[in-house]
């Protein structure tokens, strides 16, 4: 497909630890089209951040990509040289981190960080942004992130700004340059609720204005349902369900998705949700079967022994579950 910006096929990522190999990401397939907003939802430890870090090549030292392909604009990120990768990053990718405090160099002023970022970016035609325009670009970017008094902010150190301002600054930086893919890794986790709402609105408007693609990573179903076009539901390092956002939230198929949705407290009452019993998968020995099988109320014998197939239940709505596969019916 021509308008495919990012395609991840059969990605496998593990971490070396003292006790052995953590098999975290197990055969994940993700596609992002140009201008599309994609959400990746999953609970803590389901591998969301690992996927984001694999895309940008900033896995921790213990992390190892053991299989699969990550094609960014048709080029394989995993096989290219470090130099090519840094150029590609400069051209295509921007990332918003969970914690804007630790993602800004504490001894550099915002102005100098921004001029580095803008200076490292490329225009779509491969040229660099001229030095004379860097300041103007920075001021415009801060302005569009609704930050008042850009000049004062450019002259400040990160610790002189509030948490919400830092995240705004970060968004301004991420979208200051013509990059095509915005990776937002839990952009509002460390902010309080009122600021969270403002930041999400800001991301949404900026992404729409710039027509960039976005991958929003979050554990919050609310945020993902508001912000994205399409959702990948992640459990234990595997995609259990993928669909258009509306379809998935209105009509979840996978037992995990259903259990998760029923956990959302409703205003109409009904008491505290029951939650999902059991524990997260043990990544050291995840077994061959469906990783949710040990907690699944509808688990079949086959679920424990064989990996579930990806079944298209409706056009564009895929579920990785034996409950919906031919195998189970026969």
């Amino acid at each position: 497909m021509a308008d495919l910006l990012l395609s991840i096929t059969d990605l496998k990522v593990g971490y070396r630890v003292y006790k052995g190999q953590l098999k975290v990401i197990n055969g994940v397939n993700i596609e992002v089209r140009k201008g599309e907003r994609v959400g990746i939802v999953g609970e803590t430890g389901s591998g969301k951040t690992t996927i984001a870090r694999s895309i940008t090549g900033i896995l921790p030292k213990a992390g190892r990509i053991s299989g699969g392909k990550i094609l960014l604009d048709g080029k394989d990120v995993l096989t290219m040289s470090a130099h090519e990768l840094s150029i590609l990053r400069g051209q295509k990718v921007a990332m918003i981190f969970q914690d804007p405090t630790s993602a800004l160099n504490p001894v550099l002023k915002i102005g100098s960080i921004m001029s580095d970022i803008i200076g490292y970016a490329y225009n779509p035609d491969g040229s660099r942004i001229p030095k004379s325009q860097i300041h103007e670009t920075a001021v415009n970017a801060l302005g569009s992130a609704s930050l008042p008094d850009p000049d004062r902010i450019l002259a400040s150190y990160p610790f002189q700004l509030s948490g919400g301002m830092r995240q705004r600054v970060f968004i301004a930086m991420a979208l200051a340059t013509p990059r095509e893919l915005l990776l937002a890794d839990e952009p509002t986790t460390n902010l309080d609720v009122t600021i969270q709402d403002q930041i999400l609105r800001l991301i949404k408007t900026r992404v729409d204005e710039r027509h960039v693609s976005m991958i929003l990573i979050s554990h919050s179903l609310d945020i993902v349902s508001e912000m994205t076009d399409r959702v990948y539901m992640l459990y234990g390092g595997t995609v259990v369900e993928q669909a258009n956002t509306r379809d998935l939230f209105e009509n979840p198929y996978h037992p995990y998705s259903r259990a998760l949705m029923s956990c959302i407290p409703k205003l109409s009452g009904g008491g505290i949700a029951s939650g999902i019993s059991g524990e997260m998968v043990n990544y050291l020995a995840p077994g061959n079967g469906c990783r949710f099988s040990s907690r699944c109320s509808k688990a079949l014998p086959v679920c424990v022994t064989e990996p579930p197939p990806m079944v298209e239940v409706e056009p564009g709505h895929r579920v990785a579950c034996f409950l919906f596969s031919e195998k189970q019916r026969s």
Partner: protein, 289 residues
Amino acid sequence: MKTFNRAMDSTGNAIYKFSRNKVSVVGFFMVLLVVVVAIFAPVLAPYPKSAGALIDFDNASKAPSLTHLFGTDIEGRDILSRVMFAFRGALVMGLGVIAMIVPLGVLVGLFAGYYYGTFIDTIIMRVTDIFVTLPALLLALAVASLGRPSLFHSMMAVAFAWWPYYARLTYSQTSSIRNETFIKASETIGAGKRHIMFAEILPNCLAPIFTKMALEIGWVILMGATLSFVGLGEQPPTAALGTMVSDGAQYLPAQWWISVFPALAIAFIVLGFNLLGDGIKNMVSTEVL
């Protein structure tokens, strides 16, 4: 000096932080005095000719008096004048060695820390470890005795023994900063190795480096004096504090002034730099005072 300025909020703030510690202001004036005296020694010294090879047996071994405040040595040279001239060598020693070892040590440490966990790191750091296991003074003595004794050779010897400590300091800083999110962030946007090492990591290492540097100039001068005490530094007749102490040692305790005043001069200069170092430490700390 762009990065240096980045490490401080503003000159005014830096001066304020420095002046909060009165003792460091005293240190600053002590160092200033030494520097001024060293520069203007030919003008300020009461007997400028005493700096070189002067023999004046009429005035030999005179006790401190109004004409010779610090007394004279066995060749009749004025000790005060000689101390003033010896400050020159001491300052060249301290500043010169620091100017050699800090860039070298920092570069090595930065490089090894950036490649933390790889064989580059292993090789560089094991070599520095070997240096560190040898007592610095012994190593410096050994190296200094290889060549013809001179001030320059003794500086090289001290530098040779001292740089690994800067490499290790920078290395430990770099290897931890390397994994901070903001480094990952700048990698994500396509920053290269050079940018990450020098523009992102280095500014974060500067505060401890400056602190160590400021606190150690005094110790470097002391080590230089030690080398010249055993005859491996500046050669006679040029005045050197260590040589003056050792020359007078055999006339102790009767003609105590020959050794004691140069020794006090060493103490003065080392103390001055150490107190100044404390002030600089406050100045570069990011703590909001």
